[in-house]
């Protein structure tokens, strides 16, 4: 009997699974009408499902450095200063007015009155002081951005009265207000921070247009309308769901079937397909990035400036843009995009000229070229959608001038670690600006102080260092811009990189979406977005 049971179990399983498959087919298309019924009844502003490539690691913006985290927190928290809709100009946020002392060491901010956190507690000067003291008390590992943007430069933050906060600095911070507008400095509810303690990152409470509702890890995060939001009539949507869809093609398929309404990380090569579909629209994120090939200036032949310049002459940027960015990028000349104040338009690029490159190589003592490694990024980024293929294109261009590049790649964490330690001859990498300030590109990426953090090419130049420090401390914007322009001239000549592109990252959405404006920093404010039911 025993044996017979085994067989019957098998047969039962067969029948059950066939039944499942069969039923499923007959029930095939009634999912959509049912959904519409579900949502139309309860809501008026509608739901927006935002498909993205990765999950947040934290919903406390202060403790993370990740773009995926800020995409969500941008809509839960607000900052004292806000960026413009599609630029990094400064506008009133939770602070309505601000004033800087003559010496640039004291900043006084007037706060918006009548704003409440999602937990019902009041937003006021005490809350701001509480947040800054929390960040100040932590170390660089806990609050990376606080430490890199403010760190020890903020001496004290005090509440002058209920709606006035005063910042006293040790040294002037030129981009002080731009820094305040960055997502990591979203003001959180002190009561909630105390209540949730270690778990605050899973229970975010801010003053923003949306309140946190649910987080299923690696699947989706739901935020819902904050009915008490201080901006009359906002947000327009009732609910936003950030769904994790790791595969780019799957994400586009989900958009095409209407299961999601908006997606980022659109392949440049899919632009034409989306343009041709009347139900979909493309959104362009204004470029605030740079994709580059770093030339590690402490390694072999790359120690020679002439060699680095020669490699610059060997690269045809337009060809790369046409092949891998579907034209949605512009050739990069300087280490920062032209929208950043202080960009030097007078710097000329090394024109594409293989003959010139060969001459320079010969002059440097490498008439027959040399061999080197060329590291290809293993992950796609908006500024480098296809690292491997771009590397192959560069390899071919270098070969034409006699330089044999061997393409190497590692798993991402190892890639960054090794490149950071100066183990790569040449490597693909990039950067998206945090606050649109020149300091956030030039100092962060190329100052000698940043070796070991983001200066992967190990570039050092005392003159540049001096200019960048001076610009950091100056509160005269015109003077700063002049200093940055000078620095760019020197950097161009030293050629620590081959700046490749400033790309325009693409998003796509359903044609029913209106008022969506993609922000250059990558964190989009969704309060104004509307979706046709």
């Amino acid at each position: 009997m025993k044996q017979r049971k085994g067989i019957w179990a098998l047969v039962l399983m067969l029948l059950f699974s066939l039944a499942l498959v069969g039923c499923n087919k007959s029930a095939g298309t009634d999912e959509k009408p049912a959904d519409e019924g579900d949502t139309a009844g309860e809501t008026s502003g509608g739901q927006l499902v935002f498909g993205r490539g990765g999950d947040s690691t934290s919903l406390d913006p202060a403790v993370t450095t990740e773009g995926e985290a800020f995409k969500v927190t941008k809509n839960i928290y607000e900052t004292l200063i806000e960026f413009g809709d599609q630029d990094t100009e400064i506008h009133p946020g939770l602070a309505t007015e601000w004033d800087t002392s003559e010496d640039g060491l004291t900043h006084t901010l007037k706060l918006r009155e009548g704003v409440k956190f999602h937990d019902g507690t009041d937003f006021n000067a005490e809350a701001v002081v509480f947040n800054f003291e929390r960040w100040k008390a932590g170390n660089a590992e806990q609050f990376y951005y606080y430490n890199s943007q403010f760190g020890d430069k903020i001496d004290s933050v005090t509440a002058v009265d209920e709606y006035t906060v005063e910042f006293k600095l040790n040294t002037p911070i030129a981009p002080f207000y731009k820094n305040l507008a960055m997502s990591p400095f979203g003001i959180a509810s002190p009561a909630a921070i105390e209540e949730f303690g270690e778990d605050f990152f899973k229970n975010p409470v801010g003053t923003g247009p949306f309140k946190f509702k649910e987080w299923k890890e690696n699947d989706y995060i739901t935020i819902v309308k904050n009915e008490e939001y201080w901006q009359e009539g906002l947000p327009k949507l009732d609910e936003v769901i950030f769904r994790v869809i790791p595969e780019n093609s799957t994400r586009l398929n989900e958009l095409a079937t209407g299961a999601v309404d908006l997606i980022d990380g659109v392949n440049f090569s899919d632009k034409a397909t989306i343009d041709a579909n009347p139900d979909l629209q493309i959104f362009e994120r204004p470029s605030l990035n740079i994709g580059y090939l770093g030339l590690t200036s402490t390694r072999g032949p790359l120690k020679e400036k002439l060699v680095r310049q020669a490699l610059n002459h060997a690269v045809n940027k337009q060809e790369i843009i046409d092949a891998f960015y579907a034209g949605a990028a512009e050739p990069a000349i300087n280490p920062m995009p032209p929208v950043v104040a202080g960009y030097n338009p007078d710097v000329a690029d090394y024109e594409y000229d293989p003959e010139k490159a060969k001459e320079l190589l010969a002059e440097a003592g490498y008439p027959d070229g040399f061999e080197m490694e060329l590291w290809a990024m293993p992950v796609p980024r908006p500024y480098m959608p296809e690292g491997q293929k771009v590397a192959e294109a560069l390899q071919k261009m270098f070969e034409e001038v006699g330089v044999k590049a061997k393409i190497v790649t590692y798993e991402w964490a190892t890639y960054l670690e090794k490149a950071n330690a100066g183990e790569a001859d040449t490597f693909l990498l990039g950067w998206t600006g945090d606050n649109g300030d020149a300091d956030n590109f030039l100092y962060v990426l190329l100052d000698q102080d940043s070796i070991g953090s983001n200066n992967y090419s190990q570039y050092q130049n005392a003159e540049v260092h001096e200019l960048l420090l001076k610009a950091q401390a100056s509160s005269d914007q015109a003077e700063r811009e002049e200093l940055y322009k000078q620095a760019q001239v020197i950097i161009k000549d030293d050629a620590p990189w081959i700046p490749l592109v400033h790309s325009t990252p693409l998003l796509a959405g359903s044609a029913k979406i209106s008022n969506f404006l993609a922000h250059p920093t990558g964190s989009d404010f969704l309060a104004n977005v509307e979706i046709q039911q």
Partner: protein
């Protein structure tokens, strides 16, 4: 049988200990200092030293190992470095998601694979045999990535029968109880949600089932062919038994042992090997959880994740071993 079961269970102890030891060393063989990676490049040397100490990485390896082992015995898998949450709490939804997917995939693979194999053997060299075996060959060598995207293109975009990816309709989410969504929706009596969940399962299950299905079909066919040539089958047929019973009862019973072995191995593989399917179908499963952990160098998660999968693998194979005896009375474990 009972004593055998006990013996087998006891013999698992050294296997699991060995497994733990291997995983433990494997993780430590990854280049780079975990403390440095966790803290990022700006970290001061003191901070790295402090975290190294906190993680116990400054202790000799055996102290670390026994500490870890002690934690395991009390059900403590450690804490994720990335999210700071206890892993045994955090891992469950991912494990359940993958288990649900792997279970459905195995049912499909077994039902279709075994039957295709049987019928191919029964009608050897018929057109069915040829087609089935060619399909099986294609199945074994099918890139899941391509298959998954093709499924989406056909069934989600063109026919609009099935949802493209994910586990549920996020616009009307499911209330989770066990994290097995099929069970959860049934417990709550939400038949509408139940169908939504089943529909979400179909494409990823078939994608995941393809390779095991093909392997099972081929193994079943070859063992069935062997059995069907034996004397007792000829006798059974000579007695005038209906062919259906000869095949499905007498032959299958004798041919099922190697098939069971393959099924056990494949089920174990599916649990850990579902990562491609999970990625294409946005399935929040354990494969992606561990993969993300690797990218973040979240060592405790990698270690515990691999260990859990290994334990499940070993357990499934134990069950298969026990099933041998249950199915074939000639197998006596003494």
């Amino acid at each position: 049988m009972l004593s055998y079961t006990v013996k087998r269970l006891l013999s698992l102890i050294p296997v699991l200990l060995g497994l733990t030891l291997i995983v433990f060393f494997m993780i430590r063989a990854i280049p780079g200092n975990p403390a440095q990676t966790i803290l990022g490049q700006l970290a001061t040397d003191e901070a790295v030293a402090a975290l190294t100490k906190q993680l116990g990485l400054d202790q000799p390896w055996y102290t670390q190992f026994f500490h870890y082992l002690g934690g395991l015995f009390t059900g403590d898998l450690g804490e994720s470095l990335r999210t700071k949450s206890p892993i045994n709490e955090e891992i469950w939804p991912f494990l359940a998601a993958t288990a649900e997917l792997a279970f459905c995939a195995m049912i499909i693979a077994i039902v279709i694979g075994v039957n295709a194999g049987i019928i191919s053997a029964w009608f050897q060299n018929s057109w069915f045999d040829y087609v089935a075996m060619i399909l099986a060959l294609i199945g074994v060598s099918m890139p899941i990535f391509w298959l998954g995207l093709m499924e989406q293109w056909v069934f989600a975009i063109n026919l609009e029968w099935l949802p493209t990816s994910g586990r549920e309709n996020v616009r009307a989410p499911i209330e989770t109880i066990t994290n097995f969504y099929i069970l959860d929706t049934l417990i709550q009596g939400r038949m509408d949600q139940f169908w939504v969940v089943v529909k979400h399962l179909v494409m990823p299950s078939f994608a995941l089932a393809t390779i095991p299905m093909a392997i099972i079909a081929r193994i079943t066919r070859s063992t069935m062919l062997e059995v069907m040539k034996s004397d007792f089958i000829r006798t059974a047929r000579a007695k005038g038994l209906r062919m259906f019973w000869v095949v499905y009862k007498h032959s299958l019973k004798n041919a099922i042992i190697p098939v069971l072995t393959i099924i056990g191995l494949q089920t174990g593989l599916l649990l850990g090997g579902a990562i491609l399917t999970e990625t294409i179908f946005s399935w929040p499963g354990i494969g992606r959880y561990i993969y993300d952990a690797i990218n973040y160098r979240d060592y405790p998660v990698i270690q515990s994740g691999i260990l859990i999968i290994a334990v499940i693998f070993v357990t499934i194979n134990l069950i298969v071993d026990l099933l041998y005896a249950a199915i074939d009375p000639r197998i006596k474990y003494n």
